[in-house]
């Protein structure tokens, strides 16, 4: 339910359906029957946020508790924000229509760095002070989780509690602690101090950071008995881990408008640029029967006729063919189609394809990430050119004529020859089409090569690496273009300005909080949207704060520098990351987890792929 007054201006904004709630599956409770209220905020638009799986899991799980009411809040698009500010309507939750300031917990999921400013904007639109130190009561507790919580330092001043790792258990433990503290009448500070002893909880206010003259960190000192290191939480038994039986089914079209089943967490591969591949270790799978039952229940409860089998690399599921066979059994009967995103080049087989009942042959997407074999080895992508060409040939023979190839530029150790090889590889795929005997006749081949700019991330072997400057990245973008000679290849690249800002925040420290606040005060938000992003506005902010953004984005760190996230523990050791970084410079690959243990440290959790028989 929305506040009545928004009706007066809803028809003046784009897609008013974003702001009204009332969907099938939305949970509406009686305010007087609950004692704790949680506003689950996604710092982007409705269509983006509603596509996110984490919010669906936690929303359902929280609402199963009688005492707790979890609601959804999304960032209003700029036209709606303008109307809300003009009419004095605070940001509200979609279920009750109540302002953000009415909630015990205000929780954000941080999926990408460029949504940080939206978090601040949502707090202020909701009538909640943005700085943690300006919120004195044991109320309006601002919490945040998601992958960007692995380096929360650039937003440490705004958030009371960060949840590290997976939220299913730790969130509820903190909510229970809050209820106890409230009934005991203790202060917010005391609540935070107690919370810091729950595994997976990081209270930034309880850590003091000091700096050397050169701006690097001298020490991170825990205060008031907070732990030296904060360890992530994770669910070891995925079959027993909570999974919703229903989703809120949106009334307007969202980005991923289908049922989603998570088939495993983590990734066995260890691609050296990929943060998710390290944060979510070890790989933990659900069993075939659990996957089938959960998919079936979801389809029946939502009415979706498409299920996406989601993970970081779905073809690596160990029983993929038996799983698809079991799913197809009821899916075909009930007119439900299955889709497998995140297919690897080497995981694409006829056996899998024939079981994906999606009949629309729209096109195939692969991510070789680098153009040359040497660079693919350096980033540990472990895909050979022969595999890519072989797979494309199978696909072309099977009637496909469109292939999308994703690449990154600016990878460590990259040379201009590697960059040119991106164009060469795309050309080889075009040639493969014409060399395929039983290709689709009368159709032309279309190869899209898309190049994004590499952003070094915490908890990866490349966390010490400098990002290429914007000029270098643009040079490389032009270099690819100059090497494309076929009209069958279309080439696109990601804006390097946004990648630069992403790199600043990804490995930023607490000094950036000032810039974040100033940017917010200047009305900067929706940085991940081309319509709103302005690097020049941000450069002015950095300049006015006396901050050099290149210090964060373009500087090589030494292995012994204290990194802003070193006191956070995601289960993988620094020694392992250093080892992997060195191997990258030797262009040496590391076998994946099922071939051989690389000794990353995740073994200590005593489960998942680490304990499988090899």
């Amino acid at each position: 339910m929305y506040p009545k007054e928004v009706e007066h201006f809803l028809m003046k904004v784009q897609k008013p359906g974003r702001y009204v709630g009332g969907e099938l599956g939305a949970v509406v409770k009686d305010r007087s029957a609950v004692d704790t209220r949680f506003a689950f905020c996604f710092p982007d638009t409705y269509e983006v946020g509603m596509s996110h799986l984490g919010i669906k899991i936690l929303y359902s799980q929280f609402n199963e508790r009688d005492y707790l009411w979890c609601e959804r809040v999304f960032a209003p698009w700029i036209d709606m924000e303008e109307q809300m500010r003009a009419h004095g309507v605070p940001l509200y939750a979609l279920e009750s229509g109540d302002a953000l300031s009415a909630f015990d917990f205000i929780g954000f999921t941080l999926q990408y760095e460029l949504s940080f400013t939206n978090m601040l904007n949502m707090l202020s639109l909701g009538g909640v002070p943005v700085l943690a130190r300006d919120r004195h009561e044991l109320f309006n507790i601002v919490v945040a989780g998601g992958p960007c919580a692995c380096n929360p330092e650039p937003i440490a001043d705004f958030v009371d509690i960060f949840f590290l790792g997976e939220g299913e258990e730790v969130d509820l433990e903190v909510i229970e602690l809050y209820r106890r503290c409230r009934s005991e009448g203790v202060s917010k500070d005391e609540f935070l101090r107690r919370a810091s002893h729950i595994r997976g909880v990081y209270v930034p206010a309880l850590y003091d950071v000091s700096y050397h003259d050169d701006g690097t960190i001298a020490a991170v000192t825990p205060l008031c008995g907070a732990p030296e290191r904060v360890e992530k939480r994770l669910m070891m038994n995925m079959d027993k881990s909570y999974y919703p039986s229903r989703f809120v089914v949106p009334n307007i079209e969202i980005i991923h408008d289908r049922a989603v089943e998570e088939i495993f967490r983590g990734c066995i591969r260890g691609c050296r640029f990929c943060q998710a591949g390290f944060l979510y270790r070890p790989v933990r799978e659900k069993s075939v029967s659990v996957i089938s039952d959960q998919c079936h229940t979801l389809c029946r409860n939502t009415g979706y006729d498409e299920v996406s089998l989601s993970s970081l690399s779905s073809s690596d599921y160990s029983d993929i063919v038996p799983m698809l066979t079991e799913l197809s059994d009821w899916a075909e009967r009930e007119n439900v189609s299955l889709s497998l995103p995140s297919l690897r080049v080497d995981g694409f087989s006829d056996d899998i394809l024939s079981r994906l009942t999606t009949v629309r042959k729209s096109g195939l997407t692969f991510a070789p990430e680098a153009g040359s074999q040497r660079l693919r080895d350096a980033i540990n992508k472990n895909v050979t050119e022969d595999e890519l060409i072989g797979t494309c040939s199978v696909a072309f023979a099977g009637g496909y004529s469109t292939v999308k190839l994703y690449f990154m530029i600016g990878l460590p150790t990259e040379t201009m020859d590697d960059v040119a090889d991106i164009a060469n590889l795309a050309q080889k795929v075009v040639n493969t089409f014409y060399a395929t005997e039983n290709r689709a006749r009368g159709k032309s081949v279309r190869v899209t090569a898309s190049a994004s700019s590499f952003v070094p991330k915490p908890f990866t072997p490349f966390q010490w690496e400098p990002q290429d400057t914007v000029e270098m990245l643009q040079d490389k973008q032009r270099h690819i273009k100059a090497h494309i000679h076929s009209r069958k290849i279309s080439y696109s690249y990601h804006d390097s300005d946004t990648s630069f800002l992403e790199a600043v925040f990804a490995r930023g420290d607490r000094k950036l909080c000032r810039a974040m606040l100033l940017a917010h005060e200047r009305g900067i938000r929706f940085d991940s949207w081309g319509d709103c992003f302005s690097l020049s506005a941000w450069m002015k902010v950095f300049d006015d704060c006396g901050i050099d953004p290149a210090f964060y984005a373009n500087r090589r760190r030494s292995f012994d520098e204290i990194l802003p996230w070193d006191h956070l523990d995601y289960g993988i050791t620094k020694e392992f990351l250093i080892r992997e970084c060195r191997r990258a410079y030797e262009s040496r690959t590391t076998p994946h987890c099922r071939e051989q243990c690389a000794g990353c440290g995740a073994m200590r959790y005593g489960g998942g792929v680490c304990c499988e028989e090899r």
């Binding site: 929305y2 359906g17 009204v20 009415g303 007119n335 009949v359």
Partner: protein
């Protein structure tokens, strides 16, 4: 697809209100497809590459409008299916803002539709500069012999006289403004959107208006209801 002995052309009548006012026609189509899928109703599916339940709507409704008379047609494959049970089956699978009232055999063709009846509740927008008494303004507006408006057509903008197209209109005072009941041409040959009227009146009384428009009835020739 199994053998079926008979196919019945079924038509449901449903209302669209509350949050669901803000669902566009395309989105409504998706909401209905999911409801049909979830309900398990045995209805005819298209047989192309992308097979899906075949549903059609007689007269699309503009975004933001309330309606008490929307219809959706489909072919019921199981002739044993109890049509009286269909509303409850679908309502269990739809958001609360869409309520199915009835399901019957489709009698008229959508091409037979000639007009629609709307209630238009008008009040001065909170954003307006000054308060205006809308009722007398409306009375004089309705007495004009012609009301020229710009109408968007497939061939671009066109100027039309709205006055002769208003088939029937009564106005009464209501809380904070004026309530109209008006009949406008609708259907395949000519369609007049009541918001054209609201825009013209807003310009006439030089006031920003807030309107709640409800489609009450869909008519065929001679003012008979479309069923």
């Amino acid at each position: 697809m199994g053998e079926v002995s008979a196919v019945r052309n079924a038509r449901i009548v449903f209302g669209k209100d509350q949050e669901c006012r803000y669902i566009s026609h395309l989105d409504l189509n998706r909401v209905m497809l999911r409801a049909v899928q979830k309900s398990g109703l045995n209805i005819w599916r298209t047989e192309g590459f992308n097979t899906h339940p075949y549903i059609t709507f007689a007269l699309p409704l503009s975004l933001g409008y309330v309606s008490r008379c929307e219809t959706m047609d489909f072919r019921l494959l199981d002739d044993d299916e109890d049509m009286d049970a269909v509303p409850a089956m679908l309502n269990a699978c739809l958001p609360a803002g869409i309520r199915v009232y009835s399901c019957c055999d489709a009698v008229h063709k959508p091409a037979d539709i000639t007009a629609a009846v709307y209630t238009v509740e008008l009040s001065v927008s909170p954003d307006a500069d000054a308060a205006v008494d809308l009722y007398p303004a409306m009375t004089s507006f309705l007495s004009l012999s012609s009301v020229m408006v710009e109408k968007k057509t497939k061939k671009g903008m066109k100027t039309v006289d709205l006055r002769p197209l208003i088939l029937d209109c009564t106005a009464e005072r209501c809380d904070g403004g004026v309530r109209l009941t008006m009949t406008l041409p609708a259907g395949p040959s000519e369609n007049i959107n009541p918001s054209l009227f609201v825009t013209a009146f807003s310009a006439y009384c030089r006031t920003e208006l807030y309107s709640v428009i409800t489609r009450e009835k869909i008519l065929i020739k001679d003012g008979e209801p479309f069923v």
